[in-house]
Symmetry: C2
Subunit: 256 residues, 2 copies
């Protein structure tokens, strides 16, 4: 099994601290020793760093974690190859990326999807480069989005959630499916087993800031909450906007 890390923010910020906390889980204190990857969005374009080696041994990840890449959306992953036949290779390392409608779309998955080889999930326009069930699932989702959308601004979050609702449910029936998918504005969040969220609402140099962090396991001793299982969430600008009422910001404010 793997570990996911994601961020949606109102203003561009870095995830150095989260990366530092995640890094030792990739091979040192955790078993996720087969690769790591992080996608940082710069507008509509994702810049992706990935290596098919343990995160805990990666000089490149250490470099990135100290480099203060500023971004509004980040998707990260550390990988335990499972099953082992999906070996260590760049092509099998998350996050995966495709262009659709003049944007980078990025995907990372934690879980297993036996049955992804069924005909209904066969790739069409978007084809896997590597061998993983995860990348096949990503291609299946992108084929579905392409049926509805071909560009011109980011899709509205509720429409994106609508297009993805049935295909995500179909994938979820196959096995463990905890995932992050982004177009650089929307961050689609789904879990059927385990994923945690933390909302930070703060002031950065006199400017309002909201940050939503996602991680398989809480990375700090702050009040992380489990993401509701089986529900397609979409985060934007640092908080959940789909489904209506899922806002952690509202919940925190209401609770005092």
């Amino acid at each position: 099994m793997c570990e996911l890390m994601g961020m949606s923010a109102f203003r561009a910020t870095d995830v150095n601290h989260s990366l530092e906390l995640l890094q030792p889980r990739g091979g040192e204190i955790g078993p996720h020793a087969d690769g790591w990857g992080v996608a940082f969005y710069d507008g509509r374009a994702a810049r992706i760093f990935k290596e098919p080696i343990p995160a805990s041994e990666s000089r490149c990840l250490s470099f990135i974690a100290s480099h203060c890449y500023q971004s509004r959306v980040v998707v990260g992953h550390i990988r335990k190859a499972n099953p082992a036949r999906f070996g260590r290779a760049t092509a099998n390392t998350h996050p995966f990326c495709r262009e659709l409608g003049g944007r980078s779309w990025v995907f990372a998955h934690n879980g297993k999807l036996p049955g992804i080889d069924q005909a209904r999930f066969h790739p069409h326009r978007f084809q896997p480069i590597g061998d993983t069930d995860s990348e096949r699932a990503f291609c299946y989702l992108m084929d579905r989005v392409a049926e509805h959308w071909s560009g011109g601004g980011a899709p509205p979050p509720d429409r994106l959630a609508g297009w993805l609702s049935e295909p995500i449910a179909a994938l979820s029936e196959l096995g463990i499916f905890n995932m992050l998918l982004s177009d650089g504005d929307n961050l689609v969040v789904f879990a059927n087993e385990r994923l945690h969220a933390l909302h930070r609402d703060c002031d950065e140099g006199g400017q309002e800031q909201h940050v939503l962090l996602l991680a398989t396991q809480p990375l700090t001793d702050e009040p992380w909450r489990p993401v509701e299982l089986g529900v397609v969430h979409v985060a934007r600008d640092g908080d959940f906007v789909v489904p209506a009422g899922a806002s952690t910001l509202t919940a925190v404010r209401a609770g005092g």
Copy 2:
């Protein structure tokens, strides 16, 4: 104007020395201060590093140049934003990448293509993420490849050259068009103004090795040759295989 760097090799090797030679040209001794990028292929998947900052100031590029990434195909670029309206941004930084047929395709361009906005070059399946004429040209070429090929091994070099011959000629008529395009096996090389090639034929630990290097300007005092202008070349496994008779290996052997 920008500078290109490319490599095709028979066996995976690193390009550390070439990157070290290229780096100061991006802002220090050369004017190409608006970004840099390098794509290393690992099988069918490209791993791309890029930053919209001067190569000469990049800690990331220094890190990569010392990291010994092994690859059989490399495409690199340092960028001078031109015209200036195509600003500094990840989305405007080469090399660009798209998936087609389960492979990463990578493209870098040196030159200017006024007239790329004409209707005949409008993007269809592949759409630009950034603002550059270069990425539009890449999308136009990928749309043409997709008309002929949808996956299953790399395209044969002569067929790939055939599909690209007319679209490359059309782009070449617009302005300066020196470019590198790869699918991880084939490296398509075209210049209508300036590009140099160097072939190294050597023995690496008792194993045969052939390396073909491409660069806008010769990077060393070895016998670099100008690439023949206006001709679509395809390199594979460390030497030109298209057009027939373009092999630098044959030429060196015949001459030596």
